[in-house]
Amino acid sequence: MTREITFSKAVNEAIAEEMRRDPTVFLIGEDVAEAGTPFKVLSGLVEEFGTDRVIDTPISEPGFMGMAVGAAMTESRPIVDLMFGDFIYLVMDQLCNQAAKTHYMSGGKLKVPLVLRTNMGATRRSAAQHSQSLQAIVAHIPGLKVAMPSSAYEAKGLLKTAIRDDNPVVIFEDKLMYQDKALVPEEEYLIPFGQANVKREGRDITLVATSSMVQVAEEAADALAKDGISAEIIDPRTIVPLDEETILNSVRKTSRAIVIDEGHQSYGVTAEIAARISEKAFYHLDAPVIRMGAMDVPVPFSPALEDLTVPTASGVADNARKICRGELLHAA
């Protein structure tokens, strides 16, 4: 049986189910208990699990991130709530020097099973320090797994997998999607890491899109369909590990690709995926792989400017049309 629930509810269910199943799991972060976070994603959990397992912290991100690492090294399984993805800079040392490297540095003796839940996404008029999509910088660090759910269905399935994983996992939730609904099974399910989802099949062009960019890709695909262009949409679901095979297979079929991600474009997620496609599907490509990341500017507050900085469905469709028509975007 499936029912429609919000992304927010899906996250909440995943945590509640895993906390019921495994008493070593606990939640820690700012205003996660009574307030249930500013986005109200965690409402109700403290009532069920109590303040010993749903722990409100002071505003000490490095501190509670570090504590989660220590707790994870000693048989607990913490889920860290980082209120805004932009605060990831504050926890980088504990995340990247400690959590990510401990298993390796200890020659496999110590484990750090923790989940860092945080968010991403602009166009919420939250300005430069509350709008960043920083998945690329953590994806660069060996030892971390990185998930980017694109709907309530993925949010639940990936989060449950993350909580059971014996490694540090960072999950980026798009804060603009919390109220979006999707069909989610009532029965338990998990989504394995490293398995991309072919969200829509198509023949002419592959759109590889992460998180909320999957919606953007779908809207673009709808528009393209009207022009007789059949777009295949691939949602990697995790960018570490990355399901290269599914992406390459699609591009080998369509011969064209656009990669869309809401992080800044330069040195971002689109670079890695585009570089892999360009290298490994080289002889199948009819056109250069086009990257569409967020503009390489801090996120501006003004609505008149902010909306210009993120990839849009019409932008994707335009590029797709040009590629399919054989118009060179970067004529030599």
């Binding site: 700012e30 205003d31 009574e34 307030a35 500013p38 409100d56 912290t57 002071p58 505003i59 000490s60 490095p62 501190g63 932009d86 605060f87 504050l90 919420r124 008029r125 939250s126 300005a127 430069a128 320090q129 509350h130 800044h264 474009q265 330069s266 990257r291 569409m292 990341g293 967020a294 503009m295 390489d296 500017v297 801090p298 501006p300 507050f301 003004s302 609505p303 008149a304 400017l305 210009l308 900085t309 993120v310 990839p311 932008g315």
Partner: protein, 339 residues
């Protein structure tokens, strides 16, 4: 009201007006939010006016401040204009930051306001560095670092206090303890004593009633003078209260604080009402004069809102300007993404 220095009438008048200006600004900003005319969210300063005004009135335009996510009060108190502020809150080109910063990043370089900050505690390094700069450049400006009780949980504060103490920097750490960080009471997130934390670094620490503008101003004036003589840094804990929710959208607050508590602060401890009463008692201003001031400022604020609502947005070409100083358009320079 405690008033150990000799102020002249002008000083009193300015302090009163500045507090009323902050309140008027916030009332209008809240209204803009409630009527869905303002993009995003904002954090109201109402209730804390005596802190910003008492402190900033002890400073010159050369003195610097760093501000917070709850920064409109600091901005007004440090000398900013309504029009450019409302324009900024609405993302308009005539805003202090050309609409790029918004409420959480409003800065006013010309009056020494180095900017609001959306990272709690994020400006503690900046303020201390400005003080280092004063020493390094041989200038005598003082920097005040505003932050909330919640921000004392950020490790950065202890790092910079240590350096400020070691190097005797002219910086004043002003903690506005309004009893809450977001939806959590201060005692749940702060162990021990805040003043003891500063004192442990050998920093002189003071507690003052943050609802009493004269007490705040007197203390700050002394400390600013001592800073200029090389006797800094200092720490002040100011007990105060925010009247609104954590942000404008935080309407149902019963689960973390009672309506009674809010009512008590508003009726008994309002910094503006109380200072107004004192001015009347001391025969510095009459009741009528007070009303006239309030009305005038209200009208000024409303006119500024009107102006800002009609002001133009920045041109789309501005989107990649100001990424780098000295570079007109970042995307040409970087060959980067066009969005």
């Amino acid at each position: 009201m405690s008033d150990t220095r000799t102020h002249n009438t002008e000083d009193y008048l300015r302090m009163y007006k500045q507090m009323v200006r902050i309140r008027a600004f916030e009332d209008n900003a809240n209204q803009l939010y409630l009527s869905a005319k303002m993009p995003g969210l904002t954090h109201m300063y109402s209730g804390q006016e005596a802190v910003a005004v008492g402190i900033c009135e002890a400073l010159t335009d050369e003195d610097r401040i760093t501000s917070t996510h709850r920064g409109h009060g600091h901005c007004v108190a440090k000398g900013a204009e309504f029009k450019a502020m409302f324009c900024e809150l609405l993302g308009k080109a005539e805003g202090y930051c050309r609409g790029k910063g918004g409420s959480m990043h409003i800065a006013d370089q010309s009056h020494g306001n180095l900017g609001a900050n959306a990272i709690v505690g994020g400006s503690m390094g900046i303020a201390t560095g400005a003080a280092l700069s004063a020493k390094h450049l041989g200038q005598d400006f003082v920097t005040v670092c505003f932050f909330g009780d919640g921000a004392t949980a950020q490790g950065l504060w202890y790092e910079v206090m240590n350096m400020a103490a070691l190097w005797k920097l002219p910086v004043i750490y002003a903690c506005e303890n309004n009893g809450y960080s977001e939806y959590t009471k201060t005692e749940e997130i702060a162990a021990g004593s805040l003043t003891a934390r500063a004192e442990a670094f050998g920093i002189e620490a003071f507690e003052v009633d943050g609802q009493d503008v004269l007490a705040v101003n007197d203390l700050t004036t002394q400390l600013v003078e001592r800073c200029r003589k090389g006797e800094g840094p200092f720490f002040i804990e100011l007990k105060t209260y925010r009247y609104h929710g954590h942000h404008v959208g935080d309407i149902n607050r019963d689960y973390y604080r009672s309506k009674d508590e809010e009512a008590e602060w508003k009726t008994v401890r309002d910094p503006i009402t109380n200072f107004g009463k004192w001015l009347e008692d001391e025969k510095i201003l009459s009741a009528d004069e007070l009303v006239a001031i309030n009305n005038e400022i209200k009208a000024e604020a409303e006119a500024a809102v009107e102006y800002a609502l009609n002001a133009p947005y920045p041109d789309t070409s501005e989107v990649d300007m100001h990424v780098f100083a000295g570079v007109d358009h970042a995307l040409d320079y970087l060959g980067g993404a066009r969005g």
